[in-house]
Symmetry: C2
Subunit: 206 residues, 2 copies
DNA sequence: TAACAAACATACCGTTCTGTCTATTCCAGT
DNA sequence: ACTGGAATAGACAGAACGGTATGTTTGTTA
């Protein structure tokens, strides 16, 4: 639609991602985008709306790139579950990797009723949904989740998906916090754990 | 030492934890602590130094409470590894749980050279060190880490500890972001995954 | 050329931020 | 009772904040 609008969201995406939301003032975004303040307030009612637009764009781009990457790396659903962590590893070694913008957003907007927090939760829900879809494809014979999920016994698709997501989020966070070595370090450990969990959950069969 | 100093750090601990670092102004901390601004600037050179003092206190308290809780819940080292996640579950269901203050800190202070980021990384390192100690006690016959860690094969103590930490951090983050049900949900899933990983890593023996 | 909307610059609003300063009060040790 | 250090309140500085108001330029369309 509007070119200036796109420039705004683009600059805000980078600045919010790199320096945080509260720490990034509107003026900094405007200067980076080369846009006048009035123009911004014609497109967005407030800073919060700009943030929400940024989160929408980020969610769309990240999930698309993530799903595409996973599906390029492997064809059969089961190895795609492992490819998740290779894809994460590539993301981690991106120069300028600043962690997950949605995790960072919930750190700054802790109130669960806050639209920014809600948008971040929705993103995580969509990611988990995608992972769960992969799990279900990897095991077409899908027993429903046992009621006492999480304990020894074959976990249902939901439980396995959630456990894989735990590994994913853990890898993101530890990579962000710790300066440790090459980017793929936490991703590799997570991949190893994921392999064990997947084997356990679906045995030798497909 | 100083009573006012303690009140300051105490109030700052709660406010920074609940509302974030940039979003919490000095004046709010001062009002909550019932302390004058000059007194604060006699004890701390800047807001950053106050934050660092808060992080030191938080690290000390959290790790003590965590280790004590884990060691109370189980006696033998191996079940202590599982007790980690029960302890996390209790933390999650604390009213006013706002995620991990150190993860939140790195979200707001992304620069790895920033003292605040460095302090957070150090905290995570200490937690992983503790977990690794538990792993080593749980398996006294400890082969050195294989060079190609993370791939199928019996992982060394370092790899297993790291994988357990991934599950821990993942549980923290997902609990913080998603409104999902009772606090123990993610913790339970993580515990299930941890059980599988531990069994795999040390077989039936002790 | 006339009309119109979008983008422009800029000054300004009130608020809040971190940090400084002065002057006063409290309280403990001698 | 006296004194000195610690804590106090509160005004203040200077900058940055989110957001608004006014008026001008630009580009397109008719």
């Amino acid at each position: 639609m509007s070119k200036k609008r796109d420039q705004l969201v683009e600059s805000a995406l980078e600045l919010f991602g790199r320096e945080g939301f509260h720490a990034t003032g509107i003026d900094k975004v405007l200067a980076a985008a080369g846009v006048a303040k009035m123009t911004m307030y014609k497109h967005f009612r407030s800073k919060e709306e700009l943030i929400l637009a940024v989160l929408r764009l980020r969610d769309e781009r990240w999930r698309n790139s993530f799903m595409l990457g996973v599906e390029k790396r492997a064809k059969d659903p089961r190895s795609r579950l492992l490819a998740i962590f290779d894809q994460l590893g590539e993301w981690f070694s991106d120069e300028g990797f600043c962690g997950c913008m949605f995790i960072n957003a919930t750190a700054e907007y802790a109130d669960h009723d806050d639209p920014i927090h809600a948008a971040s939760a929705e993103h995580k829900r969509l990611v988990e949904k995608y992972v769960r879809g992969l799990v279900e494809k990897a095991r077409p014979s899908d027993p429903p989740d046992p009621p006492d999920s999480g304990l020894p016994g074959i976990p249902g698709a939901g439980v396995l998906a959630r456990q894989l997501c735990l590994l994913m989020e853990g890898a993101v966070v530890l990579t962000q916090v710790c300066p440790g070595g090459d980017g793929g370090c936490a991703a590799a450990a997570a991949k190893g754990a994921a392999g064990v969990l997947i084997d356990r959950a679906m045995g030798g069969g497909g």
